[in-house]
């Protein structure tokens, strides 16, 4: 029914996943990973699973970003490989 919205969301999902894999700056990678999580939450909500989408938006786009930022603060900001 909403297939245009779903295709656009899936395209953005793949773009953010590939970006977060290939970016050297780890802080930018964390931000793109949060964008990935938020877009996947939007996909869950479009598919009709409101509770799963809410959990994904709160945990994946909220608390996980804080933990990753704290870990980057304790180690180095540039990726080695």
């Amino acid at each position: 029914m909403y297939w245009e919205i779903e295709i656009a969301l899936f395209v953005f999902l793949i773009i953010t996943a590939v970006l977060s894999l290939y970016i050297k700056d780890l802080l930018t990678a964390v931000v793109t990973l949060n964008a990935f999580s938020f877009i996947s939450a939007l996909i869950y909500i479009v598919m009709g699973a409101i509770d799963v989408g809410f959990t994904e938006a709160v945990v994946g786009a909220g608390v996980t970003g804080i933990f990753f930022v704290v870990l980057i603060f304790q180690t180095y900001r540039r990726s080695i490989d």
Binding site: I50, F54, T55, V58, V59, G62, V70, F73, Q74
Partner: protein, 146 residues
């Protein structure tokens, strides 16, 4: 290593926004019977509000709000609330986690089940909030603060 530097604007905005996030967390926990939400999401939003104050105000000021030593005991208390609800139903004659046998007088079985679901959600929210803040404090343990 990135240096931590305090900023006045971030501190004031976090102090204004943080109580509203807590209010929304309580709404999500206690309104889980009627709309999307529940204990896990509400506890995570509450932990996000506490972590916001921890990120913005630094370590010593955030200790006034939620002490580090409280983290793991509150998580255990949350799990014990869940377990105790089920065990109370078992002592009153039913099966484990069968909320229809909770020993509160004057309620029908369906209303007792609704009440049991509310108690369980409060336990889940308390446990998730305390454990997430405790994990954050453990991660920052070796970081030299200024």
């Amino acid at each position: 290593m990135i240096r931590y530097k305090s900023n006045l604007i971030i501190l004031m905005v976090s102090r204004v926004v943080s109580p509203f996030i807590m209010l929304f967390a309580l709404y999500v926990i206690f309104h889980g019977h009627y709309s999307a939400g529940g204990g896990f999401q509400g506890g995570t939003i509450m932990a996000a509000s506490l972590l916001l104050m921890r990120l913005a105000a630094g370590r010593e000021i955030a200790q006034l709000q939620f002490r580090t030593i409280l983290g793991t005991p509150l998580g255990s208390i949350g799990v014990l609330i869940y377990f105790g609800t089920g065990f109370m139903a078992m002592l009153a004659g039913g099966e484990f986690l069968n909320y229809g046998f909770l020993p509160f007088a004057g309620f029908q079985a369906a209303e007792l089940r609704s009440l049991g679901i509310l108690m369980v959600e409060i336990g889940v929210g308390l446990a998730v909030m305390a454990i997430l803040v405790a994990i954050y404090d453990d991660l920052l343990e070796g970081y030299p603060h200024d």
